[in-house]
Every structure is written in C-alpha cells, then in structure tokens.
C-alpha cells in the first residue's frame, strides 16, 4: 500500500463514556501507524495530528465528531482526512456501553480505516480561467447583471438581439410601486440604467446580435455570436468567456390562446402589453372608434379549469391589472375599472398596493369566471361572468376588455436557446412550464448547465424591480463560478471540492450511460464513443459512478471499490437473530445531516444500522446493494431526497435515477431468492431528524419479521 495511517480517537463530548476506547484503539493497532487518544483533539491536541502529518503520516483517521463540524480544525494540507463519526451517530444516539454500541463504533472505525487506505488527495484541474462574463439579453435583468459584474471587476460582453437595450421593461408606461407606502405608480428607471451601463468601463454591448452556439465549460466557454440584420451585413465571431448569464426574458403568450376571450376577434379586446402602449400615448380609448374607454374590464384569465388558464404569469398578472386599473382611473375621472380574478395574488408588501387601489371607489373587484364575451352593435362588449362574489351570474357591458398577458419564458423556444454544443442537446433542460430546471429552493439561478445562470423573467414571471435584483444575483453566481473553476473547485453544491471522476478506460464498454445520466451534461463522447469529462461542468455528484455498469468511474476519495470495501469491513454477527445488520446509504446533503441532528437531539435509534454517507443517492451503484446482501447484511436502507416534479435532490435527478436502479437491485434480490422488503428507499428532508428513529426502527422490525439473511457466512 505504501500509505501511512494515523489514527486519532477522541474521548470528549461523551464518547469516552459510551464506548470502550481501549478495545476500540486495539483494533486500529494493526495499521502500523500512530494511534493516539485525547479528550479533545479539536483543541490543543490538534497539534499532535499536525506533528504526525509533518512526520510523514499521509492519511489521518479522526474518530470523533461528525465530519460536518470542525472542518477547519481538522484540515491538514497534504494528508487525506477521514472522519469517523463516533459522537453524533454513536455516543449520542445509542445506549452507552452496550455491546451493540461498541460493535457499531468498532465497525465505523474499521470502515474509516479502509477508506483511508484506499483514498488519495485529489489534484485539481486548473486549466480554464477566462474571467469574462457573457450576458445574453439586454432587458432589465441583463443590464443589471452586466452592471453588477462590471462593477465587481469582470470584463462583460452583453449581447442583445434588438436594436436597443431595455427589453419589455422599456415598453412599460409605469411600474407598480416598489417602496412604501406602495400607493403611487413609479416611472421605470430603465433609461437611466442604460445610460449607466453605457458609461461603465469594461462592458462591451453588442446590439443586433445573437449567441448561436456555446461550447466548452465554465472558465472556458466558446460562444459564437452573429451580428447585424437586414441591411447590415451579418458578421460572426467567436469569443471566449468564463460564465454566462442568461437573461433572455419572455414573450407574450400567443393570441390564439385567448380566442375565447375575443382577442383577435373583437377590436376592443386587447392584451395588457397593448394597454401599456395605449396608456403611454395618453388617453385610453376604444380601438374600434377612438372614443374614450370609460368602462374597462381586466380579466386575469387565471381560473382553475379555464382552458386559457395562464401557466405563466403567477405573481405579477394581478399586480399588472391593479396598476393598469389606475391608468384607467387616472386618465378619466368618470372611468370605472372592473377586475375579474380567480385568485388575487399580491405577494409580500404588494398587499398594501392592492389595498390602496381598492380605496379608489372607481375600481371594482370580483372573483369570477368569464363564460362568454359578445360584441354589441356599437363595439361595446358584453361579459357574462359566473361564480361571482355578488352571487349568481352577472352580465356587464364595457368599452374595453384587457386580458392578462401570459409571460412565456424564452427557454421554451429553440431560437431563444444558446445553441449549446452539448451531447445532451442544444437547449437548457426545462421544467414542464418551460423554465430552466433548477433546484428551486437552494439554487434558483443555477441551471443544469454549470456556469450558465438564468436571471429575470426567463427564470420566473417577475416585475422589473425583481428582475434587476435577479440580474445582480446571477452575476455574482457567474463570477463565483469563474473563481471556483479557475481554482479547479466545484461551484455548488459541493463548493470547493477538488475531486472529479476518473475513468478506467481500458474496461469501458462505451455504453454511453454516464453521458446520458449526468444531470449536468458534463460528459461528451469522443470519436471512439468514449466518455470525455468536461471537468468544470461537473458537480462531483458521482451519478456517473452510480450509472456505470462496469464500475470504471471513480473519484480519488470516493469510488465503488472504496464503498464496497467499507461494506466488507463491517463485522456480521452470525446465528444471532437479535443482532441484524442494516446498511444505510445516506445522502450527504440532507439525510446524513438529519442523522447528525437526531444525535444532537439525543434521539435513539437501533444500533444495528451501519451508515455510509454518499454524495448523492444517484451515485449508488446497484452492485453495492448486491454486495451488501451477499456479504450478509439483512437489509439495506437508502436515505435520500424527494424525487419527482417537486424534487429536493441537490443534483436534480439523483433520487429519480436511483428509483430506476432499484429495479436492478430488486432483480438481484430475486435472483438470490431474497425478499424485496430487504431494500428500501426512504425520503428524508434535512429538517426531519425527528422522523428518523421511527423510520429506522420500523425498518429493523420489518427485517426481523422477514428473518435473518440466509446468505450470512457464505
């Protein structure tokens, strides 16, 4: 092996009182390296470890607290550090000085020693370090992103397909209030922001231009940009950029969707975007005859079960209707605005705006479903509205009907995409609504293409104020991505991770599964159909490692072989039905911290579990499950995040992919004539520590009922 291991067993924080440390350290003696004890390695005794590392120890196994704490104290450059969790997951969560607790601690130490034997410190990939930020789209979000990045010192290229900057934000007459007391309409400050951008050094604005293709990886993307249209000759050039902010905005939902509401059929039915233009021109008039519109109905088209129900609009269409009701009222004293809604959505402080618009006696509100619109001989429109708050159906005659405009994200259209030269396709992966897919809670800007961040209305229907904030945030994300990439570190969620997958190509069967299952499109195929890693696209989740049918994908510190050896390191008691052994593969993002928290809360769960943290459940290769059961484990529990449409998986598809791999695992169980109940997937959120003891105890009970694994001892 040639490795020199140092073992450090801590007795502090109650570990010494729960586990017989003499017996424990005896089992580490055969490593040949130093084995030391302390009541607190996290204090002065950290020096003992440092001294050993300086003296030649290259792998440090610290049997103490969870690897999630004291990470700065236990960082020893040049040495691989393995943390054995004797505190949160042994001493704090199991009966002290019980023989099962003791054997749990001993197994954990052995598992740590095995992993330390096999792991090596990674050497980072640091070859991509272009610092330019490319901003695609010159609307409110794009301008804000460009300004933010430029002010923070990054060179910026802003590409806008139109002849001017500002996007839809520049076409708004007014915007609804963004500050207390949330009553008066505000000017949009887009023009001022454009001037600011023009005078900021380090920003190159390319109008009439489009990004037609993007290849490469964070820190070194190559973007091809074509410029000029019509009379201007079209030119094309390639630039190298470090990261990309996608702020391509939205387009209105096509009018045919609103045919039922008379859009396109009746002259006096307009979209809210059209009303902006009319309001900007002064008086609000009827398109049919130019007479003043004194009775104006706003339809939010948001009723459930409405065939024209807007999938796009969400929290802004209500506010836009409120704003435009004020246009109507401010244009003419005798005008009345009617607002029909399914749900009046005025998030946050905008409730005050709703309240202030309500105060105007000339703005009338009701929930209601508009069943039919008919045109009268003079061009007026009759609305038949049912399910109103007034009780029963009503009919109302108005001069003008304004329909909420659905804001379709440009990611829905191929032409709005970046032309990604990725094996997995030119477009960003999207949700069912066409928005760029992202872990919406933790990583809202991060698309599934590392180094490409979406901002503004392309990401979510939003107003100008929010789009500006969004652009600023995405710019910071882009710069962080550039920083990390140039240092060879993962950006997120495994911030700072230097490891990345390696491929033992001699055994590769070129099946291409890794390239298909990578949620981030990090892997491409070369001419020989062999996978090639774009390191900076990789988020180091290990999903490729879980996918590979011949297990040739490994990290320096995380591999199928390492996990299999850890599984083998567990002592399986034979012929004792009271001592089942359950392998728990726990996702490091949510389930493992939840287990730690259970310990912190001193919640007790069965000591028959052996927990191995995994980068993502998607990184679990099904051969590991087969290994565990043939080794004699009575059951395997996979603890991870929620899969599906409202997934919680930090690597987007990990939990979902595991589900398909479980079919393989169950097949293996069937082949071994074992019960399918022995393997279970459990969804645990980070906040659900309290659920864990119940989940694990129930599983142990199930296993006891099923009986011991007959493979024990083979």
């Amino acid at each position: 092996m040639g490795k020199k291991l140092g073992t450090y067993v801590c007795s502090g924080c109650g570990i010494g009182g729960a586990v017989d440390l003499d017996k424990l350290t005896a089992s580490a003696a055969k490593t040949g390296g130093p084995v030391r004890r302390s009541t607190a390695f996290c204090l002065e005794d950290a020096q003992l470890i440092r001294a050993d590392v300086e003296g030649g120890v290259d792998s440090v196994v610290i049997a103490a607290c969870s690897g999630r704490v004291n990470t700065d104290v236990f960082r020893f450059p040049g040495a691989f550090v393995e943390r054995v969790n004797l505190r949160e997951q042994v001493a704090w969560s199991h009966t002290p000085n019980h023989e099962e607790t003791q054997s749990l601690a001993e197994d954990y130490l052995q598992m740590g020693l095995v992993r330390a034997q096999k792991a090596t410190p990674p050497s980072p990939y640091t070859e991509a370090n272009e610092r330019t930020v490319l901003v695609v789209g010159g609307g409110a979000a794009g301008i804000a992103a460009a300004l933010s990045a430029a002010r923070s010192g990054a060179p910026v290229v802003l590409v806008e397909k139109d002849s001017s900057l500002g996007g839809y934000a520049a076409r708004l007459f007014r915007q609804y209030p963004s500050r207390p007391p949330y009553a008066a309409l505000e000017e949009t400050d887009v023009a001022a922001r454009i001037r600011e951008l023009r005078s900021t050094p380090g920003v190159r604005v390319m109008l009439h231009s489009e990004v037609v293709s993007v290849s490469g990886q964070p820190g070194r993307f190559t973007a091809r940009i074509t410029s000029g249209r019509g009379e201007t000759a079209e030119t094309s050039r390639e630039i190298t950029v470090g990261a990309i902010v996608l702020a391509t905005g939205w387009r209105p939902e096509p009018t045919d969707k609103y045919e039922r509401y008379g859009l396109g059929r009746f002259k006096n039915v307009v979209s809210s975007m059209e009303l902006e233009a009319r309001a900007a021109r002064g008086a609000i008039t009827r398109p049919s005859d130019g007479r003043p519109a004194t009775r104006v109905a706003f339809l939010l088209c948001d009723g459930q079960g409405d065939d024209a129900h807007l999938p796009y609009g969400g929290n802004v269409t209500s506010l836009i209707a409120l704003k435009q009701a004020l246009y109507v009222r401010q244009a003419r004293e005798d005008a009345t605005a009617y607002v029909f809604y399914g749900d009046m959505q005025t998030p946050g402080q905008h409730e005050y705006f709703y309240r202030s618009v309500q105060d105007d006696p000339g703005v009338l509100f009701s929930q209601g479903q508009v069943r039919a619109i008919t045109e009268e001989s003079d061009g007026s429109l009759g609305l038949d509205v049912s399910d109103t708050l007034m009780g029963g159906d009503i009919r109302l005659v108005v001069d003008l009907v304004v329909l909420a405009t659905g804001m379709v994200p440009s990611t829905v259209d191929t032409e709005g995409a970046l032309g990604l030269q990725y094996l997995q396709g030119q477009n960003l992966p999207t949700t069912k609504f066409g928005f760029a897919d992202s872990h919406f809670i933790c990583f809202p800007y991060e698309t599934r293409r590392t180094g490409i961040y979406s901002a503004g209305t392309v990401r979510q229907a939003m107003d100008v104020t929010m789009a500006v904030r969004d652009g600023q945030a995405a710019a910071l994300k882009a710069m962080q991505s550039i920083e990390k990439s140039s240092a060879g570190q993962a950006v997120h969620p495994r911030v700072g991770d230097l490891s990345y997958p390696g491929f033992f190509m001699q055994k590769c069967t070129s099946c291409g599964r890794c390239t298909q299952e990578c949620p981030f499109g990090a892997l491409e195929l070369n001419d020989k159909k062999n996978p090639v890693l774009n390191t900076n696209r990789c988020r180091r989740c290990g999903i490729c490692m879980g996918a590979c049918p011949v297990q040739i994908i490994s990290f320096n510190d995380y591999s199928v072989d390492m996990l299999a050896s850890m599984i083998k390191a567990v002592e399986i008691p034979e012929g004792n039905e009271d001592k089942p052994r359950i392998l728990v593969l726990a996702c490091e993002n949510d389930a493992y911290p939840a287990l730690d928290m259970a310990g912190i809360q001193r919640l007790q769960y069965p000591a028959s579990v052996r927990v191995i943290p995994v980068r993502c459940l998607g990184s679990v290769n099904s051969i590991l499950i087969a290994d565990a059961v043939s080794r004699g484990f009575d059951g395997v529990a996979l603890l991870g995040c929620r899969a599906g449409e409202d997934y919680q998986c930090h690597f987007i598809r990990g939990s979902e992919l595991l589900d398909t791999r479980m079919d393989n695992a169950r097949e293996t169980l069937g082949r071994l004539a074992l019960e399918p109940e022995r393997v279970q997937v459990m969804e645990v959120a980070i906040s659900e520590a309290d659920r864990l003891p119940g989940l694990l105890s129930d599983f142990v009970e199930t296993i006891k009922r099923v009986g011991p694994n007959p493979m024990k001892g083979f």
Binding site: T336, R355, Q358, P361, G362, F365, S366, M390, D393, I394
Partner: protein, 379 residues
Amino acid sequence: MATLIQPDLEFKRAIIGLDAHDLTACYQCGTCSAVCPISSADNPFPRKEMVWVQWGLKERVLGNPSIWMCHQCGTCNTYCPRDAKPANVMAALRDYSIAHYAVPPFMGKALNDPMYLPLLFAVPAVIFGAVLAWLGNLTTLPEGRIVFSKFIPIMYIEVIFMLAIALTAIGEVVAGMRYWRAMDAQAGRNGHGPRRVVATVLEILRHTRFRQCNEEPVGTRKTYKSHLHATHLLIFYGFLGLVITTTSVGIGIYGFGYLTPWPFWHPVKILGNVSGAAVIIALCVFLWRRIADSTRAGKSTYSDWLFLAILLLTTLTGFFCQWLRLAGLRVAYPMYFVHLLLIFFLLVYVPYSKFAHLVYRTVAMVYAASAAASARSRT
C-alpha cells in the same frame, strides 16, 4: 340567468359618506359572515352586502332583508382582518334605506341633515304656539295649583297627536310596503304575502336575535356587545310601558272621566315612572357605550346621536314636568311645552328617523320568515 349589472358609484360614495369609508378595504374573505352569530351559509351577510356596495348595486342591496337582520353587535368589526368595518356598512345601509323608502322623500333627507333641525322643531312649535296663543296662554301662564290641562287642555293635545300619528302611520305603512315590494322584486318572487307574522312578533318581543348576538361566542377577541340584549330589552319594554301609560290615561279620562293629574301611587302612574326610568337608564348605557367604544363598536353618525338625544330629552322633560308640577313651580308649563315638542318630534318623524327601525326591521323579519316558510313549503 345572468343579471345585467349597472354599478351606481354615487350610491357607493353615499354609503362611504355615512361613516363607512373603510368598506373599500373588503377583499371578500368572508370572516364577517363566519363570525356573525346570526348570519347563515345560504345568506352570508354582511359579506354579500360589502361586495354589493363596492359594486354600487343599489337596488339589490336595498331590497334585501339582511341589512335589518343585523342587530349591530359589531363582532364582524372586531374580527375583520382588513378593518373594513362591515357593521358600519350595515348601519350606514340602514340609515340610507330609511331615507330611501321615506314618503315624502324630503323628510328622509331632513332627518339626516343637521341643517334642517331648527325647521323640524319649528313645525310643532308653531302648531302648539298657535293653540296656546288662541287659548291666551302664550304670554301669561295659568295661576294657582299646577295642572297641565289648564295650560293646554288634553283634548287639544289628543286631537293634534291623533292627526299627526295618523299621518305618520300612513307614511310608515307606505314605506314598509315599498320596502316589501323592493325585496320581493329582488327575490324575483313577486307577490307572496306575509306568513309567520305571530311567530316573528313573538321573536321580537323575546329579543331572540339580540340574545343570539350576545350569547354565541365566536373566538377570544373582545367584542363590544355584552350590553346590547339587556339594554335594548329594557328600552323596548320601557317604551312599551310609556305607551301603555299614555293609552291608559286616555282611556281613564274619556272612558271614566277620571281627570288628571292622577295620584302618585296610582298603578298607571307607577308604571309610567318605572318605564320612564327604564328608558333613561337604557339610553344612558347606549350613550356611554357609543362614547366608550367609539372606534370599535360601530359608526356613530348624526342620525344615531339625534335619535338617542331626542329619546333621552323626551323622557327627561317628562320627568322634569312631573317634578316641577309637584314642586309647584310655574316653570313646569314651559317645560311641558318643550316636552310636547319633543314628543311630536319623536312620534311624527318616526318613519324618517332611526325610530323607523321599528317598521323596517319588523317588515324585514316578517319577509325573511315568509320567504323561508314558502321556500320550505315548495320543497
């Protein structure tokens, strides 16, 4: 069947002007109807009145019994999450509807505007002044023991009041019928007659709804209604007592020639004094609560204060007349004159002041009971 809606925003502004300016804040959550002790699922007031007023649906809201079903306990005001004060809106609607159904219409206006107050008093002052002048008592007061019939014979008063009350009664009946027809028109059930009248009258005598308002707690918030049932019961029977007293005196004089003043111990006299005291006590409670809970318990507009003040002054001057008479002070005569003016005000302006709730609430309750009864018999 869709009904054509023509919002009347002048109506909305008028209601807002009757101290219901917060009605625009309502966003129709329905908390008011949920906490209202007497509102029901199929008739969710005051929630529906709120949106009707917001939309200026004047005919719909005025031709609707619910505004009088409400007994103004103010629970909705306490629980409204937006402070829209539904109880104020209901009270404003009642004020508005009294003026709206008033015959002749200008009387409705006169009782809601302080400008007309001197004129309203001038009418009885001129009538009684003329009678006194004719009797020669306008400039010189009668000598000797104080007997009010020496000042102005009871017969004269009876005749004046009989005529006035007859006029009033016509006004009341006409207004009540207009309201009934308006409700019927809105319900689209034209022409079903009153049913369950006795039951409704019994309900009124028992103050059943007031008791419901009082008794059914909805939550833990402080409401401003604990005095309502008892106080209104007191004023109601106090007033009834005074009516019985007056009627008995009339019967005594004309049926049996038993001339006034009657001795102090006479049962009718006792009834009169006790009833008067009851009315005064109840009025004091109402006034005190209106002042103490001014911001929470509901609106207090001119018409509210006028009604309470006239009632209180009428009763008080009645007592003063009696005491001054017993004390033998001749100032009792001018006091009697003032008392007569106040009685005139109270009785003759009934259909136009807040006193009209007597008519409208009864009509509304009978209508609601009849509608419910005919709905039951149809099914």
